[in-house]
Structure formats: structure tokens, C-alpha cells
Symmetry: D2
Subunit: 362 residues, 4 copies
Amino acid sequence: MAGNTFGEAFKVTTWGESHGTAIGAVIDGCPPGLLIDQEDINREMARRRPGQGGASSPRKEPDRVEILSGIFTPQGEEMPRTTGTPISLAIFNKDAHSKSYDDLREIFRPGHGDKTYLAKYGIRDHRGGGRASARETAARVAAGAIAKQLLKRHGIEVCAYTLALGGVRIRTCDLSTILDNRFFCPDPVAARQMEARVSEVHAQGDTLGGIVEIRATCPEGLGEPVFDKLDASLAHALMSIGAVKGVEIGAGFAVADMLGSENNDAIGPGGFLGNNAGGMLAGISNGEEVVIRVAVKPIPSISREQKTVNLANEEVAIRVGGRHDISAIPRIIPVCEAMVRLTLADFLLRDMAVRRNMQAWI
Amino acid sequence: MAGNTFGEAFKVTTWGESHGTAIGAVIDGCPPGLLIDQEDINREMARRRPGQGGASSPRKEPDRVEILSGIFTPQGEEMPRTTGTPISLAIFNKDAHSKSYDDLREIFRPGHGDKTYLAKYGIRDHRGGGRASARETAARVAAGAIAKQLLKRHGIEVCAYTLALGGVRIRTCDLSTILDNRFFCPDPVAARQMEARVSEVHAQGDTLGGIVEIRATCPEGLGEPVFDKLDASLAHALMSIGAVKGVEIGAGFAVADMLGSENNDAIGPGGFLGNNAGGMLAGISNGEEVVIRVAVKPIPSISREQKTVNLANEEVAIRVGGRHDISAIPRIIPVCEAMVRLTLADFLLRDMAVRRNMQAWI
Amino acid sequence: MAGNTFGEAFKVTTWGESHGTAIGAVIDGCPPGLLIDQEDINREMARRRPGQGGASSPRKEPDRVEILSGIFTPQGEEMPRTTGTPISLAIFNKDAHSKSYDDLREIFRPGHGDKTYLAKYGIRDHRGGGRASARETAARVAAGAIAKQLLKRHGIEVCAYTLALGGVRIRTCDLSTILDNRFFCPDPVAARQMEARVSEVHAQGDTLGGIVEIRATCPEGLGEPVFDKLDASLAHALMSIGAVKGVEIGAGFAVADMLGSENNDAIGPGGFLGNNAGGMLAGISNGEEVVIRVAVKPIPSISREQKTVNLANEEVAIRVGGRHDISAIPRIIPVCEAMVRLTLADFLLRDMAVRRNMQAWI
Amino acid sequence: MAGNTFGEAFKVTTWGESHGTAIGAVIDGCPPGLLIDQEDINREMARRRPGQGGASSPRKEPDRVEILSGIFTPQGEEMPRTTGTPISLAIFNKDAHSKSYDDLREIFRPGHGDKTYLAKYGIRDHRGGGRASARETAARVAAGAIAKQLLKRHGIEVCAYTLALGGVRIRTCDLSTILDNRFFCPDPVAARQMEARVSEVHAQGDTLGGIVEIRATCPEGLGEPVFDKLDASLAHALMSIGAVKGVEIGAGFAVADMLGSENNDAIGPGGFLGNNAGGMLAGISNGEEVVIRVAVKPIPSISREQKTVNLANEEVAIRVGGRHDISAIPRIIPVCEAMVRLTLADFLLRDMAVRRNMQAWI
């Protein structure tokens, strides 16, 4: 009933609060025999780390992932492999100044979960947002790095990048350039405009929203209709990231203005002749590229004054100081990739029983 | 692993193919004692029925729901009540002309799941789309009508209506007028323009997309972070409807262009002073109205010629005739309501153990 | 949360009350392409049917299973195949005399669930025990007959028989004789003694308990430690049958008196040199025969007078008349087989993702 | 699909290998507000610790449980409370001599999961049995200690003790004496005989089996028919403990020899007049004491020579040395209690939605 687990076959449970002892994840269902490259996990973690530039907070989090179980180095090999048993991942919290949150104990920050967590649970770890902190997504990135190893073996790759930030949208899209700027933006000109926009808004004590696009190569046949359609589960996965307020697949909201004859992707002997569908039909991947976009809301922690109430329901003004990002972009990008990877890994395993059995009779 | 079940506490499993013997649903977890008003279920079914006007196909489906289990009329009462055991709902198919689908046995219709179902399962019930038919949603509406009874007891109401159809968007929004036109459109002027647009496109043998908005009253505290956030599960629920290609909550994709100071809903002693959040924060309902929009793609069955391939992967042309709708709107409206109801009923029950236990210590 | 579903990959949900419109099951997760032999399903149902002899009630239930979805006969084939979509099975109730249960509306029968169902749900379908009736197991047998088709393709066979009835235990065990008597008893001499015991107790208006043993061939590697060990899930499956009060695997309760050196099965190059383990070690099948025994309590409906209370909690005497069996044996035998089949089918599918993935690296 | 999670509402996932970095558990679904008494957790852990006497190995495991998340000490309180978020428990391994297992890398120990784990996963952490080690149950005891806090608030108590060990059965049963001997045996005379039997068998390098009985007070109404009956889930819970080969409820296997008139518990105005049912009818608790017995196999690690094979499938002889217990009793006793507590906590929460809703209409 509680909702801290994602996936059915490749099942991930995350735990931990922003300023507790540690955060982490347990993966149950990872197939045995996968090589685990600790360096690759660290690379993924580094991409989510704060302090990567002006749009992100200068706070340093080393975020070293410890693998507490589920791997074993066979005699004569150098790298550990998964054993098929649960993989426990932990990241111990270090750079956490709980004291600096003391003044938030009795006040509800607008745009945060302070009020709803207290309403639901009757008790609240107010330090840094507790469980509702974006810090929780570090555990998702760690788990996603394991899923990445599984997907790689099946030729599945996932890549996310920035489509819009603070009102600046890309006009060209060259994915080979996304590592050239800190926004993972595929339009170098737009990237420079985004930088300017970030500086401008930073000076105002405000924050920015944007749009992230995720693409994935994907074999035909993944997805479990009618409720666990590939699109439905991807929407679930991505909307479970705190800052995401919208998800669209392929043509997305643009379909509202299209005719059937425009929107339908014709089919040729070599495959589909378009990809308005975004890589899936009737909830099952069709072999084309999976294309998803998510709307990212501005970070709610702003240093401008806002109206709110305290525990006694008295009107108060608040300015949220501290080391906060100007936008969830770019740090949300590896989180989006992780959630798409966890979804695809889950569907890959769920699909295997079906296909393997099919081979027996065809 | 297979994905035909929705919900954890109020759990619905649907079954059935468009042209099989019947379609239906089993609800496991419905609390006992709810009065079941068969007439109300029929009213919900009638709203989803085709033949309601030009935008919908003239095919008649009586769609009478039979309740095969899980209810009992206590001595001295007149209406049955739920017993806490599984509620089995069946709708027997009557007006199904399988023959008319014979020419689709060997061809993949663009925009449909024909190709992906065959890729996944290696076998395909081609008659009317089989399991991938929109007819499957009738079972969801039937189950949603039971959820409606549960929600009513807790003061939760759900209402969906048309925001855009075929490029026509509403400019005013008066929910008291949505029953005055067949599109459940809250702007009478736009509704007339939608009629005109439907006639125009119908004449061209083409189809139309649109946008549906769903609102729900909802008590504080529903939603199960971090993965089963209320928004995440609503996105899952709605994206699992075949025609839906995008879901947004509250301000949705508009957040991409907003500043934090614009997007944050300030809080006053009487509640939130805005609702960009769409009724939830950190995945938990905040007591404000839940607001969701979904993008609905044009019906893929068009009578204009399209390019596709047959089972032998040879290029062929296809015109999909038959009794098809011009748009999934308005028939998708009760389906959207049903999916939101199923989600809220599930979260209501999932929340109860938590709250009840809380009362013991506070 | 409600518990009417069994299995994770081969997932079965049963529904229905003894004297409602129908009972049935939905199977979600059955692989596509399996041939469905309706006659074989009927044969399984016939074995569970009452009226097979003195120990069973003379009530006739034709129990014809209707398959409402999930199968399709490909062009040019004669028998339907599963399509990978949910298989809906229904058995409509015919020979149900609700009136004869009117006098049980206000009284709790000892040994039945009358009192506990009312305590839990606050409402009770008293007719024939409602959902708690053994009739519910007919849906399990129907679902088990589908699982049987899947298992057959993987060389897995399940067989149950009577080890003891009314104090008579077998002294020889020749499985080739179990079809020669109506108790599926592998000792012809004991079978005759069981007949005599049944007649004797029938005359006294009393009922009998017994022990059923189930054996299954099973490939190595099924079972999902640590909680879903093969033994744990088999115990769950079998203990979920109303009449079962004990389950033991392999040597079972006899291990309490054994030394480690006696109980351990030594291993040789050709396999295990004993089977005290009953076919599984550490929760995973070891390739040896799976051996399970269950204790079956006497049918609680006896015509001898018993003390009980009514709804007003007043002391009353009760004699349960009607068409009742003397023992759950032999009708429980196909039910035990069905539950073991459902368990093994589930574990077979759960194991496939693991093994298939392994092949990629070994 | 992988099976390392137990429970639906009070959901526990364990992880960890005997000689890995750590073992642990994540509890998702524990209600908020429960006081967590770290001392009480330690007391439970101490009862499972080896080195408690001759029947147990002298190995010392401090087994200190660290709570990494899910608790918070509200201002002004002294003890932490649960927050409703996942509770992560970890026990770091200290006293683990992996080297001593080097000679087991290539050999399958009889009675252990060595062969089946390798067959299933294709890779095996051979050190101390890896995941299949009884050490995994320490994580269950830790999680069970949290469940104990929840149950205490609802007046539910669980107690386990030894009924038989090495062929010695109790003849009297005085539960007030179970803390007077190290076997938690309620018959002081039998306890002394058990001591003698343990010494005798220890000298022979052999091991012993036994029977444990568990009793629990339990309110009416827990259990979720038809598959998640209380008895079925308890059988699942207990049979998932490695050493358990049989489970029986109430009269258990004795029902095989009973008449219906003997086995049925008559009902009086003050409750049931017997408890052959062991506290549940039709899978729902009836308010009487829950009574369960489990058969515990002898520890398979014996120092007497046994026949087995190595990885090359060659016949070899093995003597398993090291610090092993003579019997799983008494260390299995807190594990049995933990599994029953986890089951009852789960059913308590699953039942709450039902009951709370009922109050609305009755």
C-alpha cells in the first residue's frame, strides 16, 4: 500500500530522508551474472551532484554509493557480478546541516510537501524536506545505474537532454553537442541564452522551469496492456519525480490539433514512416525510438518573500535561503534517465517469460 | 507481470476482447456495505455508448452490466449491498460483426496495435482490435461506477469535460453548461464550433484529436510517495487509456515558462491562495481541487487511404471503413472519470490504515 | 490488500459465491500460444464434481466452464489457443436451492466461516456459505486446468491421492491403482476399509478427515527465496483450501525426531540419494520429485446435534441437514492438484527471466 | 517476481548475504507515530544470537541493528517515532571468517542450498551459505521487532516455545517456565532431558530436529480469503524459514483421525467452546488464541562424514566443521515469533480500510 517500490520484475524500493543517516535502494529481481562497474555508477551519481554550475547549488555531496549485498566476485574474475539476490545500495549523508533547517520546523514552505506530509502522517521530519527532498532521487540514480548494465546487454540506450529552460527553447537539435554545455542542451545557441537567463533570475532570487526530452532505443514488444502499457508506466515513472508536472509521449499534446491522417504513422516494409507515436502503439513498443517529454516546475525554494502560514495557521512571510538550485535542470536529467531505465528493465524482464514460451510452439 | 490489474487496495482486473463472448472486470477490495444502484451503473455506461451523435459511430451497444458476484440484498432491504468479496462484472457482446473484420486479418492498420500485439504475443485476435479495442474501456467504466459509490460516501466527486476538439479551444468555462451539448463542453460557443469542425472533417473521412480536463474534489492526504505519488498514479491511470498521449497536472507544461515566484501557490489561513499545483504537493493531495488535462489523439481508423504493410511485409494501401467515431471525444470523457475514480478509491483505502492508526497516538 | 488473487506471473483471481449467479476466475499472465482443450478442462471439473459416491453428496453440479476471453482460433487451426490476454472463466450456478438455507440466516454453524465473515465484513451471504463455500474451489480447478496445459509443455506433472481417511492409512503405495477406487487411494486394501469406514460414519450422521499426498515432477531451479521459497508458496497455496489444517514437505513433521545424518539427502553423480527434502532445498526445487502432504479436516456440516449461538448470541442447537459430503476426500484431490499446478506455473514463469538472461553471459 | 518481500501493507524486504558487508531489511508501510525503543529491538536480536549454550554455536555476533531512515524524534520528545516513510534497518557483518569457507567453494553440502542456488542463478556466493544462510533471519527478527511495537498498540502478543527436541516431547505445558531454560521449553523435566540429548548428539557430531509451537492473541476479523487466508499466510511466513518442513494450525494433522463432531468447536454465548480450529475459521481469525506448530529439521551442517559431489560432479566425502549449532532450536524461536508478527501486522493494516469504511454505514 505504501508506495516506495517501483517495478514488478526489476523491483526497486528506495528509502531515506534528506538529513537522516543515509538514503538508499534495494533492487530485487536483478538477473544474476551482470558485471557491476562501480566507476560507472559513480559517473551517473556525479551527473546528479549539485555544484555543477550557476543553475545548481554550490553544496557538495560526494554521494558515494556503497553496495552492501547482491554482488560477488567469482574466483579468477576482477569485477563483481550480480548474484540474483537483492542488491542493497546505500549513500551515507555527510554534508547535512540540520541546524539550518530549525527555522522551518514550524512553517510550511509554498510549493513544498511540508503541509501535505504533516496532514497525511501527523509527524514530519522537517530537515531539508525529509523524505520529500529531491535528495531521494540520488537513490533512483544509483538503482538506475544497475538497470543500465542490464539494458546495455540488450542494446537499449537512454538519453535525456534539455529542450527548454526559463522560456528559452531549442531551435536546433544536435545530440552530439549535449555534453558541450552544462544544461545538456542540444542547441549551443540556446544553451548560451539559458546561461544568461539563469544569471538574470538568480540575481532576482527566483527560479526557473523547463522541459526535458528523453529518448530511448527499445526493441519491439515491451509493455503490458491494458493498464501497464509502456506509455502508462513511463508516465508513472516520470511523474513520480517531484518537480515533474506533465508527461507527453511522441507528438504529445500536439495531437489535440492534428487530423488522424496527420497523426497516424504510416508503415513501410522497413518500419514506420514517422514517429508521432513516440515509439509505442497500444502500449507496446513498436521498435521505433521512444520519445518522451516532461515539464519541470521551477524549484519552489526562492529567496523572494512569499506568503504562507505556520503550524498555528497564522499568516507569516517566508524567504527560503540556503544553498538551492535555480532550476531542477540539469540535475533532473540523470534522474529522468534513471526512471526510464528502471521502467524498461522491468518491462524487459516481464516480457521474457512470454517470448521464451512462445518459442516453444512457433 | 501481465498488466491487466489496476490498483492495490481497490484492485480492478479487466478482461475481454472486442469481438469475444464478453468483456468484464473483477473488483477485489471493495469495502462491504456499499449500496449498489444498478441504474446508476447503467447511466455511466450510457454515457460511453456509441451512437450519441455525429462525432461518434452509429453502432449501437446496449452494454448492460451484469453483476455476477460480490453483492447481496440483506433481508428487509431493497437494494443490494457489496459484501466485501470480489465483484464480478460482465458485459456480453451482442452487436459484433466479426465477418466485417476478415479483411484486416492480414494487414496492420496504422495507429493501431495490430503490429505490436503480433510482435509481442505471436498470435492476434484481429476482430475489431481484439483486446486493444477501445471497447475494453467499457469494463473500466463499469468498475468506475462502483468506485463512484465508495467515493460519494467520502464526499469525493469527479467531473470531466472537453477543453479542445479539432483545434477549437474553449474561451469561457461554465461547468453548469456541459450537459447542454454532446461534447460535454463548458463553452457553448466553442461547442457549436466543434460541431461544425466535426461535420467538416467527417466529410473528409478524417478524424480529430482534442483535450479533456478532469477535476475532482479530494480530501487532504491521498497519495503514497515516493513512487505512488497521487500525480504519478493519476498519470498512469489516464495514460493507460489507448488514445491518451499526454497528461498534465495543474499548470502542467506551462510551468516550463514560469518563475518560482509565479508558480508557487502561496498559503493563507483559509487554504492555498492559488492552484498551479493542481491539488497536490509532493505527491499528496492538499485539499484543493485536483485538476488534470489529457491529450487525446485522433481516432486512427480513417477512411482516407494510408500506406501500410501486410503480414508478408508487402506495401499495401488501406482505407479503414466501418462504423467508427470521428473523435474519441466525447466517449472518452466517462472513461477518464472512471480512471480517476479508480485511482482515488484506491488511494482512499490505502490511506485509511495510516490515518486510523494515527488516531491512536495523537 | 484483499486476498482473492494467487500468483505473481501466472496470476489467478477467483470470484463468486456458492449461490450467486456464477463463480469464476480470471487468469492474467498465461503465455500466448497454448492449445486449450475444452474437454480436458471438463475432465478436471468432473473429478471435483459431487455425486461420485457415498462419501460425497449426491447433489449434481454439471459445472460447465465457459471461456469468455483470452483465446482465439487461428485461421486453419481447429482448437483455440491462448492469446496472452486475460482468460476469463465462468461457471454459472444452476442447481442452487437458496431457500433451503433460509434457516441458516440467523445461526452460526460450528466449523464454518459464518461467524468470522460476519465479524469481518458486517454483512454475510448466508446461502450455502457464500464465498466461504467449497464451491469456490471449482474456479481453482478450472484455472488449474489451464496451468496444466502450460506445465505439460515443460514436462511437469502433478498427481494427488489419498494417504489416510477416517483413521485408515495406506500400508502399500501403488500409484497405478489410484483410479481403481473412488478415493484415489494407492492401496486397494485400505481403499476397501475406507469404504467401510465411510458407510459406518455416514450412518452416524458424522464426517471424516484424512490426509492427501501430492507429488510433482519438477525441473531444477523453481522457487524464489527468501520469502517465496517453493515450499513456502506451496504451503500458502494448499493451506488456502478451506479444509486443510496442516502442510508438510518431504519428511515433514518426522524431521523432529531425526538426526542430521539421517535427514540430509546425500548427493551422488546421478542426483540425490534420498528425498527427505521432498524435492527442494533452500526453497528451490532440486530436480527430485516434489512431495507434499496435507491434513484435511472433517466436513463441518454434520447432521448430529451441535451447540452454537444465533445472531442474538443466544444458545441454540443445530443439525446441519442437506446434501453434504462425508469427507472432503476425494473431491479435494483435484483441488490440491490445481493449487500445486498454479504454484508451479507461476514459478516457471518467474524463473524464465532469470534463466534466459543468464544464457547471455555464461 | 523475485521473492525477497513479505507482506502487502506492512511490507518487509530483506537483503544481504552471510559474509557480505551487511544484512538488513526495509519496511514500507509502517504507520507513523509509533515509538521505537532501540533497546527492545536489541533484546529481540539477543534472543536470536548464537552462543547461548551448548545447542548453539559459540560464534559471537553482536548484531547491532542500525536504523538508517524512517524515524524522527519530535521536538520535546526523547524517543524517536516512525514517520510513515520506509524504515531501513542494517546489521553490519563483523565476525565473518570468509577464508574458512574456501574449501566449500567447489563442493555441495548435503541439506544446504548450495546445489540449487547454483542451478538457479549460475553463480554462487559460497561463503557461509551466502543468501541461503540462517543469518538472513536476523533481518527478519529486526523487522519483527518493529511489528511488535505496532501489535502491542492493538493488544496482540506472540509467544513461541519448544514442544519437542531430538525426540524429547513435553508432557506438561506451563508457559510461565519457558524463560527458566535455554530451550524456551514449557516443561522443566523435558528441558533437562533435551539438555542431555543435545550433549549426547553433540559428542556424535550430529544434529537434532524438533517442534516449535507459536501462540498469539488476535482480535476477530484478520485474514483475507480466499487465497490470503490467515492460515495460508501464516503457513507461507513460517515455511519460508529455511529449517521448517511442516506447519499445522490448531489440531493440525490430528484432524485426519477425527470425526466432524469431535473436531468442530461448538459455540457458546461467551465464545468458542474449544479451539481445534487454532483461532481461525474460513481463513479469518475468530478471536480465540492462534495456535501453530512447525517442524524444524536438524541443522544440515554435521561433522560426520557425508557423501556428496563437487562442481565437476565427482563423488567426494565431506565433513562440515566450523562453529555450528546442534539444533536450530532455540535460535529459531524468535524467528518464528518475528514471522508471525510480520503476518499479523500486515493483516491488521489490510483489515483497517474494511472496518473503518463499515462504520460509515452500520
